[in-house]
Amino acid sequence: MSGSTNIIAMKKVVQQLRFEAGINRVKVSQAAADLQQFCLQNAQQDPLLTGMSSSNNPFRPQKVCSFL
């Protein structure tokens, strides 16, 4: 009967919601501070952020060599 199929589906929804409601969460202030810290710690190693010099970045045009 389609009625019992609906019930099975709804039971799954309720089960999933119970699971999601029960997880541990941290405050946004804490989470945001951690995101920020990660950014700042790794900033120097981020070529697109710091703008690597042409000699290091394989995609940027290099100074042309001339044969003497």
Partner: protein
Amino acid sequence: KTSFNCIFNVSFSLRFKPFRRRPLPAQRKYMRSPLTPEMATQEVQLNETLAHLKTESETLKSKLEEERAKLHDVELHQVAEKVEGLGQFVMKTRRTLKGHGNKVLCMDWCKDKRRIVSSSQDGKVIVWDAFTTNKEHAVTMPCTWVMACAYAPSGCAVACGGLDNKCSVYPLSLDKNENLAAKKKSVAMHTNYLSACSFTNSDMQILTSSGDGTCALWDVESGQLLQSFHGHAADVLCLDLAPSETGNTFVSGGCDKKANVWDMRSGQCIQSFETHESDINSVRYYPSGDAFASGSDDATCRLYDLRADREVAIYSKESIIFGVSSVDFSLSGRLLFGGYNDYTINVWDVLKGTRVSILFGHENRVSTLRVSPDGTAFCTGSWDHTLRIWA
């Protein structure tokens, strides 16, 4: 350009997605047939149980919102107020890869930081050397609209698929003359189009997402289905694996406006986020694995923190009205690059929530965007048939 192309390009309001479906109906109608007294009682009991479950589901949803709201003590950009602002960025197209005969739909970098695989509406999958712009391999798929492609971690194979509902793996041969199509291996089988695929940490397993509303994990060698992921109510459009240090999870986004985080081993959905107002076209993990960004047809990118279990930032402007097709982070996670349907790339300061740059160059929608593995450049693919490398 032919007039046909003009019609396609001119109408900005066309949100063309092949075979996109509406969310599945929540209930099927009861079949009409005469009820005996016993059946009538049974039906009443089932209705009561159903109503009871519905009430519980509503209560749980409110509780979930309450719990999330309790921890919402501050906004990300407020925490980041003291951080130094970013200066001007000079990012330009450094290479243009020409060779596809139609819209570029997807691309992926090789771990060697120079090779790229791309796939197109014309059924072609091409492997390029991004330094020299040379084409190294080309495969013609038996279908058009190859919406997904991925490079294997070893660099020795590529996976792709689309309207054929499959994901196939092609080992790359050193012999340029060898016919790659002959060695093709069909791995995944869905009941609708393949929207995205990704190898896991090795060449041995592939994760796929599909228009059939599911994601799935497959063993490449045997083609066996290892795990399937059910929970989206409509087409799944994108997925991204968590950085290896953070464990066995991945995030998916779909036409049901939801982004779901999944446990790869159990198949369970462990977290779900529904704040976008339209299809989610792209999801990408923050480099630390504690958050992920999404890009949507609602013209916004959003950042969701997994430990706070909520959205913590929206990247939008009133002047940006076209959908985001693809997002990716720079290496440190400070910059978020978004490819948009208005042909531009917007670069966002992830912490402060402001736009730091807008890049022009493509002559049609940007459909795919990935930062290179060492973060020195990013590549975009577009409906204008080209790929561009920016640095």
